[in-house]
């Protein structure tokens, strides 16, 4: 046996992909740089190149196979000098990120961060017998934009790679084809500039949806988000509207280092004049993005890259719009309240499942909107459980968790049977090394431990 060709990881967050097409067949001679196959990730279709010279031996995974895990052997290849030649160790892996060489693959802290855990209760506002469609968060966001663009000529999408590239994370896929380049606009790499142009266009009566490739880059543009978009209505005595949506992925991705891994929820939630939304599942992503686009106020809409590919049930309802500023009880319980938002909700639900096995009945609340914060739902739950843990994929200092703790202390002090605990990331820039990254990020085990602590168990 010569060289094993393995399913490559083609993006930081890729775990599996579709082997769309083989461009070689068994027995073909290939040299370094030849394209072996086309692989579809959830973001894009990528060409997979040969690293070594040799002859294709067996093709083990047929084209069209979906869900091929990264690292799976997809074909074998006889190395240089014939079938018998032993594979030189340093060249063993076709994909640089596959693990042929390393005995143990470094596991990212984010591999356990993105749960697909569902709400255990249906939205009480949905009528009995509502049909659901399994949809990824990515598709749900796209559907929300497309529906609003069909409905309202003033809505347009602007950002880096949103049009011809079909979205850096494929969220805007297909929009250019349907709406054309007047309404789906590629910008240069110029966040400050296009955030300002978007805000100006909103002041001029349009409804821009401004995509940041990630919210890390929105720091370049934060002046327009805060000084131009959030404050103008107030400063003008209510004359100047700025109905704009700033959206994009937020929070830790996978092994992308400190500058590309940050949760800006607490930053924007601190600013009067902004609406801040951070959904967890696909239904909320859709219903809340539609609401955000319709809102007359400026909205910061924080998505999560690790959740984009996760599938959830989205109600098959015409015009599914959710109220802004309303938290959602994802799992009712009576012993302890777990409050979270965005990717933390999945961990809270996972933790609740573990706690249930140990006889602790946890209630899980998804805040969904960070500003205005639905404190009433949190306080109501506390009245029932008397114990509260906040779960936040972000830093602890001046966090949403800190804010919830303060609100609970001010308004729910008498309902507390234990101090409020915060489960947050460690108070450090996010490290690259997989083991350190894992250590820095929250996980369900820490949520379980905190919940048990407040239950004195």
């Amino acid at each position: 046996m010569g060289i094993e060709i393995k399913m490559p990881a083609l993006s930081p967050t890729m775990e599996e992909g579709t082997l769309a097409k083989w461009l070689v067949k068994e027995g073909d001679e290939v040299k370094s740089g030849d394209i072996l196959a086309e692989i579809e990730t959830d973001k894009a279709t990528m060409e997979f190149e040969a690293v070594d010279e040799g002859q294709i031996g067996k093709i083990l995974i047929a084209e069209g196979s979906e869900g091929v895990k990264v690292g799976t052997v997809i074909a074998t290849m006889a190395g240089e000098g014939g079938e018998e030649a032993p594979a030189p160790a340093p060249k063993a892996a076709e994909a640089p990120k596959a693990d042929a060489e390393a005995p143990k693959k470094a596991e990212s802290g984010t591999s356990k961060l993105a749960s697909e855990a569902r709400a255990t209760v249906q939205d009480p506002d949905l009528p009995e017998g509502t049909e659901f469609v399994k949809t990824t968060v990515r598709e749900a966001l796209r559907d929300a934009m497309a529906e609003e663009m069909r409905k309202d000529e003033r809505v347009f999408v602007m950002g880096e790679e949103v049009a011809e590239y079909q979205g850096a994370y494929k969220v805007t896929q297909g929009l250019l084809d349907e709406f054309g380049d007047k309404r789906v606009i590629d910008t240069p790499i110029t966040e400050y500039g296009f955030a300002g142009i978007g805000a100006g266009a909103a002041m001029g009566g349009l409804r821009p949806v401004i995509e940041f490739m990630t919210f890390n880059f929105a720091m370049q543009a934060i002046d327009h988000i805060i000084n131009s978009a959030a404050k103008t209505n107030y400063m003008s005595g209510g004359q100047m509207r700025c109905p704009i949506v700033f959206r994009g992925p937020n929070g830790a991705a996978s092994r992308v280092g400190a500058q590309h891994s940050q949760n800006y929820g607490p930053w924007y939630a601190a600013v009067p004049g902004l609406i801040v939304i951070a959904p967890y599942d696909a239904a909320d992503a859709k219903g809340l993005l539609k609401a955000a686009i319709r809102s007359t106020d400026p909205v910061v809409f924080l998505e999560n890259e690790l959740l984009y590919g996760r599938s959830f049930d989205v109600p098959k309802v015409d015009d599914y719009v959710l109220p802004i500023g309303k938290a959602r009880i994802m799992r009712p319980g009576k012993d302890v309240t777990l409050v979270s938002y965005s990717i933390g909700v999945g961990l809270a639900l996972d933790a609740a499942a573990t706690l249930a096995e140990e006889g602790i009945d946890a209630e899980v609340i998804d805040l969904r909107t960070l500003r205005p914060l639905d404190t009433a739902t949190v306080l109501e739950s506390l009245k029932k459980t008397n114990r509260l843990v906040v779960v936040e994929e972000g830093w602890p200092t001046c966090s949403i968790a800190s804010e919830i703790a303060a609100v609970v202390m001010e308004q729910g002090f008498d309902d507390l049977d234990a101090p409020v605990l915060r489960v947050t990331n460690e108070d450090v820039p996010l490290p690259y090394a997989a083991n350190l990254e894992k250590l820095a990020l929250i996980d369900a085990a820490r949520v379980v431990a905190a919940a048990k602590k407040v239950c004195y168990k």
Binding site: G193, G196, I197, A199, A202, G204, G205, G237, Q239
Partner: protein, 359 residues
């Protein structure tokens, strides 16, 4: 007098800078060299009236600041009157849009907005155009398509490009005029906006009001290319340098700029060479320039004296001019009275207008 970027001045500096690029430059279409606007007697009278209104209004604002009626920052437009009046006289109110920085009182007056509600905003009263919640730097009139009034240096350039984007998107035929100073001309977002505005051929006139000093720093001390009308060149935005102390030169250049933009050529840059007589804001002692420099400018280039000369040439009598002056003094005095006596905002106003909708 207006100086367009083409034909390039045959200065040694220009030749040395880009000898090879000159040929390519000449192949690009360029706006015509503007000529001074031929104003009718009525138009001249209106220019004079507006410029005197701005001057007297600003002097009064300075007084009220000294008396403590106006607080915070207050940036006066005295000396620069010809710029806003000349440009805005060429625009179509309700169709074209205007946006500027924090030195905004003059632009509002030139757009025909009631001096009373402007002055009442300066004094922070309920009757102010922003209900007292904006102040000198943050005034808007959506009705007049006057979009502020922005306190962050350079922000109005990106926002203005967005207004231009909206004009194009809506196909309403409007043009945005985005004013900024020589100081803002060094902000990065200005060039991000230049790039996109030209790339997308947005209908926008970028106006640099070069009053020579960014707060206390002169243009020469802050700008590697101090001929600011050239600042759009690397984005293929043509620039014209204009005598911003002469309202007819300003209006003439604006006509040319409007033609350029309305023909679908994309943005254009006008550098208005002007001068502010007062400090940067009320708290600026202006020690960075000599008293003689300011006096020389007042004596030789005052924009109001300039229009007065045109009026006299057009056969308007000194008496008629005096009548206008008296009328303006009355208007300004009434505005000041109104602003001093109007009540402050209701305390409940603190919580209004944060968001538009209820959640």
């Amino acid at each position: 007098m207006a100086k367009p970027t083409t034909p390039r001045a045959a200065s040694a500096k220009a030749k040395a800078a880009a000898p090879a690029a000159a040929g390519a430059d000449h192949n690009r279409p360029r706006p015509e060299t503007p000529t001074d606007y031929k104003a009718s007697k009525e138009e001249l009278l209106e220019f004079y009236r507006q410029m005197v209104l701005i001057r007297r209004f600003e002097e009064k604002a300075g007084q009220l600041y000294g008396l403590g009626f106006i607080g915070g920052f207050c940036h006066l437009y005295i000396g620069q009157e010809a710029v806003a009046v000349g440009i805005q006289s060429a625009l179509v109110p309700g169709k074209d849009s205007v946006i500027t920085g924090y030195r905004d009182h003059g632009h509002m007056l030139a757009y025909g907005i009631d001096p009373k509600v402007i002055m009442a905003e300066l004094t922070g009263r309920e009757a102010g155009i922003s209900r007292g919640k904006g102040g000198s730097m943050h005034m808007f009139s959506v009705e007049h398509k006057f979009f502020g009034g922005h306190g962050i240096v350079g922000a109005q350039v990106s926002l203005g490009a967005g207004l231009g984007f909206a004009h194009k998107y809506n196909g309403d035929g409007g043009v945005c005029v985005a004013y900024f100073g020589d100081g803002a001309a060094n902000q990065g977002q200005v060039y991000e906006s230049f790039n996109m505005a030209e790339l997308w051929k947005l209908p926008i006139i970028f106006v640099i009001e070069n009053n020579q000093y960014a707060m206390g720093t002169s243009v020469n001390r802050a700008s590697s290319e101090d001929q600011l009308y050239r600042r759009g060149e690397s984005f293929r935005i043509p620039g014209i340098q204009v005598d911003g102390m002469d309202v007819l030169a300003v209006r003439g250049a604006t006509e040319e700029a409007l033609k350029w933009v309305q023909e679908g050529n994309g943005p254009i840059l006008l550098e208005m060479k002007t001068y502010r007589y007062r400090g940067h804001s009320m708290s600026d002692p202006a020690k960075y320039r000599s008293r003689e420099e300011v006096q020389a400018m007042r004596d030789k280039s005052d924009p109001i004296e300039g229009v007065k000369k045109y009026l006299l040439e057009a056969g308007v009598s000194e008496d008629d001019i005096k009548l206008i002056d008296q009328d303006i003094r009355k208007v300004v005095a009434e505005a000041a009275d109104f602003a001093e006596t109007s009540p402050e905002p209701e305390l409940a106003e603190l919580y209004t207008d944060v968001l538009v909708e209820q959640y």
